[in-house]
């Protein structure tokens, strides 16, 4: 909401400097987002009257005007074609400055010297004020020599206010004046006299207004004839522009100015274009249509409230007027609607049709029914003074309601409890300044009457807020809450995240947070399609872009995209990223039908063309990343295993499921070389993702017995089918070995020369140890020999 300070000052008197007023408004809840001096660079221009007008003797496209500048005569050359003898114009003498900062000087046009220039609205800095192409014409009769800034009302300050949705009353200058009078001590509301007396009889054969829907509680209709459509006075057009609206014509401008002044939206119909002899307010019928002022045909539903005449829709109540009854150049008689519509009804229609307007904005924030009649009086006064129309009368259908429709109590103990003050007098003073009235005064409580323009106040807490915001929150001390009932708990979930983060960071991974919405194309690229539940990513109904249009069902797309974009923007060298966040999967068994799984995902890639003095040793591969996954699990006291597995995006030979006690909780893979190629990533990419749920609880740290006796070491080397997992072999060894086998470690894997095709050699180191005594060599030899025999019997070839 743009607020002209000059306009405000017509209604409230305050000594406060603009900066202080801005601060006060801000601290009491109406944030001043900016303050602007209109057309701040424009200066030095005065009004002038054209006394003589001729075509340039040598240049047919130029005019030479002799003007009265108030202090003398000046000659101006202009190319504008709208100049008329005796019209009043803004004149910039040499030395004056235009809105864009251009300094005006003297200039010669083919032998004729132009002393300064006559100005257009654009040169002043208000292009919208122009009503025609060319020089801006001032109101007829404007005396020459007057300061244009003052004349046009540019000696003003415009506040940009952010009005909270509960304060519809502040969407008007008069409402703001009431607020300022309430929040600024020493300020005074100025009594404005009724600008137009109650008017006489209803004329013509108009049959009146019928309200057929309770969502229109009040309909005031003003009636005026002798309309003469012209631009409104220049200073009014300027005021509209400063308030952020475009001037149109005197009638439309008057409805807008009065709306800005009172907060009551007004709409003018051309009475001669009304299809019927009455106006009826009713619900629309499904499928009914109306062409609105913007020229668009709107299809309606029973939700919408309509203004009709002769059964034909002429306006969408509170949203926008109809095109066919629009004010036009030949309008002679007008009807002015000043009505009260239900806020929800209006906002629903405005939203459904995506048709926001100044009117619907105000109705959605509730318009005070008490304003409807005064608004008609005000526009009548304005139209009369502009000689734009002859007001004849108004009809009022429905109820204006009460000036104080409700009462709200304020207990002394509530003030004490919330604001730590028992000063009821102070509270009362504040509320009265804001327009509330005391209904009952008791020792323990007072009851206040709430003015009609404050529908937002309905419970005691609302009164507490009114008191607090004016009194000042700085008057309330700060203190920490006492009486903690139990210690604060970061919870297992936070502790788990922190533990995993610590491990990941220590192992060289950088934490990323990527968007929860992803591109469906990425899932396609990854081959996550068809029956895979992760292919059913939940789509957003109103995404910002297709790239961010479905909810992620796994973390991989975000991680891969980050790798891709880092490489694209020139990152060389290893990339290791991890993320912890939710993925979204359909699940009818849950409260909302969606399961949000907290997952940890990671990606590692050697990067691009980045040799290191350490060669291959420093390069990530499947097994280095496997170690990372194991470390993550270990940090929560858990052991995970990997088994060969398949993922649509995983390398057919290098993909594992991550198992925890036999259950798959995630995957680890090298991504398919074809996917790697699609993403233009030059080196292998390793990717893992784990459901964090089992990690959250975790297991307590385990500690063991120290070694009390030395171990005896033996090796064993087996020739096995390549397809047999080394872990399966290790299990067999453990199963067949004596109890004294304490540690088993694979130390060599060999295939190639000397090994038959399709086989490989696995060499293990075994430590035999007893918890009771030192083992003798011969005991160990015997146990080891027995193991070899057992393995041999199982079909292993011992080397």
């Amino acid at each position: 909401m743009k607020m002209s300070l000059n306009w405000l000052r017509e209604f409230v008197e305050t000594d406060l400097e603009p900066e202080s007023l801005a601060r006060r408004l801000t601290e009491t809840g109406t944030e001043v987002e900016g303050m602007e001096k209109p057309c701040s660079r424009f200066s030095g221009a005065v009004s002038a009257r054209i006394e003589k007008l001729e075509i340039h003797p040598k240049r047919k496209d130029l005019y030479v005007a002799e003007i009265d500048t108030g202090t003398g005569r000046a000659v101006c050359v202009s190319a504008a074609s709208n100049l008329e003898l005796h019209s009043c114009v803004p004149y910039g003498p040499p030395g004056s400055v235009l809105a864009d900062g251009t300094k005006i000087g003297k200039r010669e046009f083919d032998g004729i010297k132009s002393e300064g220039m006559m100005l257009s609205a654009e040169e002043i800095g208000l292009p919208d004020v122009a009503d025609e192409f060319g020089i801006l014409k001032l109101d007829p009769g404007t005396p020459p020599g007057m300061d244009i800034r003052k004349l046009l009302g540019l000696d003003d300050l415009v506040f940009d206010l952010s009005i909270t949705p509960n304060r519809g009353d502040l969407l008007s200058i008069r409402g703001l004046a009431v607020e300022v009078a309430g929040i600024v001590p020493g300020s005074r509301l100025l009594q404005t006299k009724e600008t137009f007396p109650s008017v006489g009889d209803w004329l013509g054969d108009f049959e009146g207004v019928r309200l057929e829907d309770p969502d229109c509680s009040l309909y005031v209709l003003g009636y005026a004839d002798s309309v003469s459509i012209r631009p409104s006075p220049v200073s009014s057009r300027v005021r509209l522009c400063l308030s952020g609206m475009r001037p149109v014509s005197n009638i439309v401008d008057a409805t807008n100015l009065v709306m800005l002044s009172t907060g009551q939206p007004l709409h003018a119909f051309d009475a001669d274009l009304l299809p019927g002899k009455e106006i009826t307010v009713r619900s629309a019928r499904d499928g009914e249509t109306i062409v609105t002022l913007d020229g668009k045909e709107r299809s309606l539903t029973a939700e919408d409230l309509l203004i009709t005449s002769g059964g034909v829709p002429i306006a969408l109540a509170g949203v926008m007027g109809g095109l066919h009854t629009e004010i036009n150049e030949s309008t002679r008689v007008i009807l002015i609607e000043s009505a009260n519509f239900d806020s929800i009804r209006v906002s629903r229609t405005s939203r459904r049709l995506s048709l926001p307007s100044e009117a619907s904005y105000r109705y959605a924030r509730i318009v005070d029914p008490q304003k409807a009649k005064p608004a008609v009086c005000e526009i009548f006064g304005l139209l009369s003074s502009w000689k734009a129309a002859r007001p004849l009368g108004m009809v009022v259908e429905g109820s204006e309601g009460e000036k104080f429709p409700k009462t709200v109590p304020l207990e002394k103990k509530t003030l004490e409890k919330i604001l730590l003050t028992d000063d009821q007098e102070m509270a009362s003073r504040i509320l009265k300044r804001l327009g509330f009235e005391e209904a009952t005064v008791l020792k323990s409580r007072r009851v206040y009457r709430v003015p009609s323009y404050r529908p937002d106040v309905s419970i005691e807490e609302d009164l507490v807020e009114e008191v607090a915001r004016v009194w000042g929150y700085d008057k309330i001390p700060s203190r920490l809450p006492l009486g903690t009932r139990e210690p604060g708990d970061r919870t297992d979930r936070i502790r788990c995240k922190e533990a995993l983060r610590g491990v990941a960071m220590a192992r060289g991974y950088v934490e990323v947070v990527t968007y929860s919405f992803i591109s469906p194309e990425m899932l396609d690229k990854m081959g996550v399609v068809g029956a895979d539940p992760r292919a059913r990513a939940l789509p957003l109904a109103n995404p910002i872009s297709r790239d961010q249009s479905v909810m992620r069902t796994l973390l991989a797309p975000g991680l891969l995209k980050a790798v891709e974009s880092n490489l694209r923007s020139g990152w060389r060298g290893p990339i290791r990223l991890f993320e912890m966040g939710a993925v979204f999967l359909e699940d009818p068994a849950t409260e909302l039908g969606v399961k949000e799984n907290l997952c940890i995902g990671g990606v590692a890639c050697p990067g691009r063309d980045y040799p290191s003095p350490w060669g291959k040793e420093a390069v990530d591969d499947f097994f280095s990343v496997k170690g990372d996954v194991e470390a993550l699990a270990a940090s929560r006291g858990l052991d995970v295993r990997m088994v060969s597995h398949e993922e649509p995006f995983g390398h057919a030979g290098q993909t594992a499921a991550i198992l925890l006690e036999g259950d798959a909780i995630g995957y680890l893979c090298r991504i398919k070389p074809s996917l790697q190629e699609k993403l233009s990533i030059p080196e292998p990419v390793y990717l893992f993702e784990i459901d964090m749920e089992p990690f959250i609880k975790g297991e307590p740290a385990r500690f063991g017995e120290p070694f009390r006796f030395p171990a005896v070491f033996r090796d064993i080397s087996l020739l096995v089918e390549k397809e047999i997992p080394s872990e399966a072999v290790a299990w067999d060894i453990r199963k067949e070995a004596a109890e004294t086998l304490s540690e088993l470690r694979l130390f060599d894997v060999y295939e190639g020369e000397g090994i038959p095709a399709g086989k490989r050699s696995l060499a293990f180191s075994l430590a035999y140890r007893s918890a009771e005594r030192t083992l003798r060599d011969d005991e160990v030899d015997e146990a080891h020999e027995r193991l070899r025999e057992n393995l041999s019997r199982k079909g292993y070839i011992l080397r």
């Binding site: 601290e27 009491t28 809840g29 944030e31 949705p165 304060r167 929800i344 629903r348 939203r351 919330i418 604001l419 730590l420 807490e461 507490v464 807020e465 607090a468 915001r469 929150y473 309330i476 001390p477 700060s478 920490l480 809450p481 009486g483 903690t484 139990e486 210690p487 604060g488 970061r490 919870t491 922190e498 960071m505 192992r507 060289g508 991974y509 950088v510 990323v512 947070v513 929860s516 957003l540 109904a541 109103n542 995404p543 910002i544 909810m551 975000g558 991680l559 790798v563 880092n566 990152w571 990223l577 991890f578 966040g581 909302l592 039908g593 969606v594 003095p613 350490w614 040793e617 420093a618």
Partner: protein
């Protein structure tokens, strides 16, 4: 006799000369044999003591034994230093360039929002708040209606909502968890809710996804003073110093009264008219807050005549931006390594 004793210094000098020239353990050994061995010069001399007159024998024996011990000691000393030299020589051959880059993986990194979240949780946990969570994909009831925002309430315009085709929405704030937590645990309660929220917004200071930290305290006889106390304690800790704060009245449908907390600009302290961070106002919005609206308590199944409380919501991304002096929020969510690792120097 003097003949005999004259040989002692001679022998000693000879020994020291040879010792000096010895460069290897082998040479040391041959010196030992040459002087102290069975046929060594000192041994020979000792053997010849028998030929001396009886009165001179004790002194001669003593002098020779002293010489012998001295030689032993010198030999040992020389041996130790020779060994040390040998090791040293070998070590010198094994010299490395200690400025070569380290092997293995460098330290990773923590996301700025997660870092700030971690600190915020620590601070509020120390004030007795327990962490609570709720779904990011919410229904209309918890995100709006339970928070005193009925359908078509103009406050819905304050937040541009992402809707999901299944009829749910992406929560626009962490506030839905207030009602969920009240329903689950009842009053009294002290919770904080860090988490992702979503709004249909995209510019350098707004991202369609960002992070909030909600706080809720419900108890008997709660005042604005405790709300201020909690927020100020947080601000002091997270920025590491006491900052000036101010409170402004505001409006949130789920709090009444509602107030907004600003802190003095962490960049300029209100001293710079052209400050990019506070836009010359000297103040930064940190948290929206207020006393919980009775309708919210009722929605949470709590009796507002017995309990009251306060709540706040703060943007963690914004706090991270202020704390670390960052000015583009969107880069937070692009996984950009130079950004996340402080220029990438630490990664090799």
């Amino acid at each position: 006799m003097s003949d005999f004793l004259d040989k002692v210094p001679e022998l000693k000098n000879d020994f020291i000369e040879r010792l000096k020239k010895a460069k290897t353990p082998e040479e040391l050994q041959s010196i030992r044999v040459g002087f102290l061995g069975k046929k060594g010069k000192v041994t020979q001399l000792l053997k010849s003591i028998g030929g001396l007159p009886e009165t001179m024998r004790p002194e001669a024996g003593q002098r020779l034994n002293v010489l012998r011990r001295e030689m032993e000691a010198l030999l040992e000393e020389r041996k130790t230093s020779l060994e040390a030299e040998t090791f040293l020589k070998k070590e010198r051959q094994e010299k490395i360039d200690v400025t070569l880059p380290s092997r293995g993986r460098p330290w990773g990194g923590c996301h700025p929002v997660e870092q700030v979240t971690h600190e915020a949780v620590e601070i509020f946990a120390s004030l007795g708040f327990t962490v609570a969570f709720g779904p990011e994909m919410e229904n209309d009831y918890y995100n709006f209606e339970a928070l005193n925002i009925p359908p078509h309430h103009p406050a819905r315009d304050m937040q541009d909502t992402f809707y999901v085709e299944n009829g749910l929405l992406l929560r626009t704030h962490t506030s839905p968890v207030e009602v969920r937590a009240l329903r689950r645990w009842g009053a009294p309660i002290r919770i904080i809710v860090p988490g992702k929220v979503y709004r249909r917004d995209n510019d350098p200071t707004h991202s369609p996804m960002f992070h909030q930290l909600e706080g809720l305290l419900v108890d008997e006889n709660v005042s604005v003073a405790e709300l201020k106390g909690c927020l100020e304690a947080f601000v002091g800790r997270i920025f590491g110093r006491t900052l000036d704060v101010r409170y402004r009245a505001s409006y949130f449908p789920f709090t009444e009264p509602s107030l907004e907390m600003d802190v003095e600009c962490v960049a300029c302290g209100g001293e710079n008219q052209d400050c990019r961070i506070c836009k010359g106002t000297g103040w930064l919005e940190i948290a929206g807050s207020g006393m919980s609206h009775p309708n919210v308590l009722v929605a949470g199944g709590v009796d507002p005549s017995k309990y009251n409380g306060f709540a706040w919501g703060m943007g963690l991304d914004r706090i991270a931006m202020l704390k670390y002096g960052l000015d583009d929020l969107r880069i937070f969510f692009e996984g950009d390594l130079p950004f996340l690792t402080g220029g990438g120097q630490s990664l090799r």
